[in-house]
């Protein structure tokens, strides 16, 4: 597995866990960076819009109005202040649909990462701790997971299982766990030779205690960084699945679905596809900026 480690070499391989003074120093570093700060603010706004959608959205996202169809954005000729970003082909308010769409994106993004995290960290810990045959089996599964175009595999399984929010979350979660397994394994392999693990073993700590009490906490900083960045990936993938037509089957509109519908009207109404895409871009960019800064702040090797 010498190969795989290159891909993750940029992720923190630190020996210190984040607690107390270490943590607050990290936060101060995060706040000093204007790009990361902007990212954090955008992210807060998106989370706020998702949570308080019924109060924030100017219109009912499902209400159709044929006389108002294809209303352009408010600054364009024929725009209407009641529909700031215009309306779609059946007269639904685009801004309100984007605000409700944030719910699906964030829910899927965060839940899928939790699934990946649980599976990947568990397998990575076991792989690095027990080595030998366990390691070989788990790393073969990692190789296989890497072999499939992830999006295509997710597409095929979601289609086979039928579109639902839960299916999307589980499928995206189960196709994105291998990076956690690889990084956690590499860290455990390095950590298990260290004195503090040796000492814990010498005083008779059980394997479970070693794994959960001593090794796991020391992988937290990389896990936090990876999870943050993966939420961004999961949001992009959910959007791509919705765009390709195997959506969440939920009552809420999704950003990917809105872009997919807008594709058919590019020549008459550019705003249909443009604004949901901007929403994805801003959200994902915000998460990436925060995640990247988090990596610098938590990585003890970077000054």
């Amino acid at each position: 597995m010498s190969i795989g480690t290159y891909a993750t070499s940029s992720v923190a391989v630190g020996g210190d866990s984040v607690r107390g003074a270490e943590g607050s120093r990290a936060w101060r570093k995060l706040a000093r960076n204007p790009a990361a700060l902007a990212g954090a603010l955008i992210l807060l706004a998106v989370i706020g819009a998702a949570v308080f959608a019924p109060w924030v959205a100017p219109q009912d996202p499902a209400r159709q109005s044929l006389i108002r169809r294809f209303t352009p954005p408010v600054w364009a000729h024929g725009g209407n202040i009641a529909y700031p970003l215009g309306t779609d082909q059946v007269g639904r308010d685009i801004l309100s649909r984007i605000i409700y769409g944030a719910r699906v994106s964030l829910l899927v993004g965060i839940s899928a990462v939790l699934v990946s995290l649980t599976v990947g960290v568990t397998l990575g810990l076991l792989s690095g701790f027990f080595r030998g045959r366990v390691d070989t089996v788990i790393m073969t599964v990692v190789d296989v997971t890497l072999s499939f175009p992830q999006l295509l595999l997710a597409l095929a399984f979601v289609a086979a299982l039928g579109p639902s929010l839960l299916t999307i979350i589980v499928v995206l979660g189960l196709t994105g766990w291998e990076r956690y397994a690889r990084v956690v394994r590499a860290e455990v392999l390095a950590l298990r030779e260290k004195d503090f693990v040796e000492a814990a073993r010498a005083i008779g700590a059980s394997p479970t205690r070693l794994l959960l009490g001593h090794l796991l906490p020391n992988t937290f900083s990389s896990i936090i960084v990876m999870s943050t960045l993966q939420v961004a990936q999961a949001i992009l993938q959910e959007a791509a699945l919705s765009f390709l037509g195997v959506g969440t089957g939920s009552a809420y509109p999704t950003w990917g679905q809105m872009i997919s519908l807008g594709r058919d009207f590019v020549s008459v109404a550019w705003w249909l596809a443009t604004f949901p895409g901007l929403a994805i871009l801003l959200t994902v960019l915000a998460i990436n900026l925060v995640g990247d800064r988090l990596r610098d702040a938590l990585d003890p090797r970077v000054g």
Partner: protein
């Protein structure tokens, strides 16, 4: 070196076996493949299909049969096209590979010089600009980028066709779209691999000897940065194919991605399985080739 080679080949075989298992699972994961294939048919038709397809047999037996058929290149007949699935998939392969290779070439042409300059002038305005573009590029959904390019170049400026694959003009937008997806990935790798080697002693020595900056960068540094670059590029190949699938859907490019996506909508599972298997096979073989290249390029392994 030979033992390492043998180990890589064994791993290739194991990975291919598990790839087949996953492909097999696509049809069986829902529990009842028949209701997946014909959701609205009466029970008598379903029973007939179940018998004809051998779905009544135990799953391990079905998997063994699937393996044997796969080895012979038989994925069954497409329900929609009423023809063997594998030839239909292979027929579309050149289009998808052409799109991918064109985009990869364009990406490399941009990512190599920009990434190297970024690393050489670390923390300059140019470097910060390039880093921001990488952030922007990796945060854009590729299908949306494609639609924005359509709105700009096909609808507003009327310079290029909205979709298709018949003329060279039609290739421009899909290639550009896929390249916006792959360039940031490569640029980031070029920059970080260059940064790893650029401050090493041997580079400093070369400079101290009076070797020109151009030769130091392109010869001394880049050759050593190439190793991680090749490896990661191999790992990213699957992601790139995923991007190609989405790009084909946006521009109605008659490639493998579009075939699979419409097969999924039509519940045409032989095509889906054949397509998934072929694409995974390509990724596996590319990574196998990268492994071999790695063994060859890395003197530490080659000498042993």
């Amino acid at each position: 070196m030979l033992t390492l080679l043998v180990r890589r080949v064994i791993r290739l075989v194991v990975v291919l076996a598990v790839v087949s298992l996953v492909t097999f699972a696509i049809l069986h994961v829902s529990g009842d493949p028949v209701s997946l294939m014909m959701p609205e048919a009466p029970e008598s038709d379903r029973a007939a299909l179940r018998l004809a397809m051998g779905f009544n047999e135990p799953l391990p037996a079905q998997f063994v049969r699937f393996l044997a058929n796969t080895a012979r290149g038989d994925f069954g007949n497409s329900f929609f096209h009423r023809a063997p699935a594998l030839p239909l998939v292979l027929e579309r392969m050149p289009t998808t590979l052409l799109l991918t290779v064109l985009a990869l070439g364009l990406s490399l042409a941009i990512a190599l010089p920009v990434g190297i300059l970024s690393a050489v002038r670390r923390n300059s305005l140019f470097d910060h600009g390039a880093t921001f573009v990488v952030f922007l590029g990796t945060s854009m959904p590729v299908f949306w980028t494609g639609i924005m390019l359509i709105i700009l170049f096909a609808v507003q400026l009327r310079l290029l066709p909205v979709s298709g694959w018949e003329s060279w003009q039609a290739l421009v937008l899909p290639t550009a779209t896929l390249a916006t997806f792959s360039t940031p990935l490569l640029l980031r790798i070029v920059r970080s691999s260059m940064l790893e080697v650029i401050n090493l002693d041997y580079v400093r020595t070369a400079r101290a000897k009076g070797v020109s900056e151009r030769i130091v960068i392109w010869h001394h540094a880049l050759i050593n940065a190439a190793l991680p670059l090749v490896t990661v590029a191999g790992l990213q190949f699957g992601i790139l194919l995923g991007g190609a699938i989405v790009t084909e859907t946006v521009f109605a490019v008659p490639g493998l991605g579009r075939l699979i996506v419409s097969a999924i909508r039509q519940l045409d599972f032989p095509i889906v399985q054949a397509g998934v298997f072929v694409l995974a096979l390509i990724v596996v073989l590319v990574n196998f080739a990268v492994d071999l290249l790695y063994i060859y390029l890395n003197p530490q392994i080659r000498v042993r």
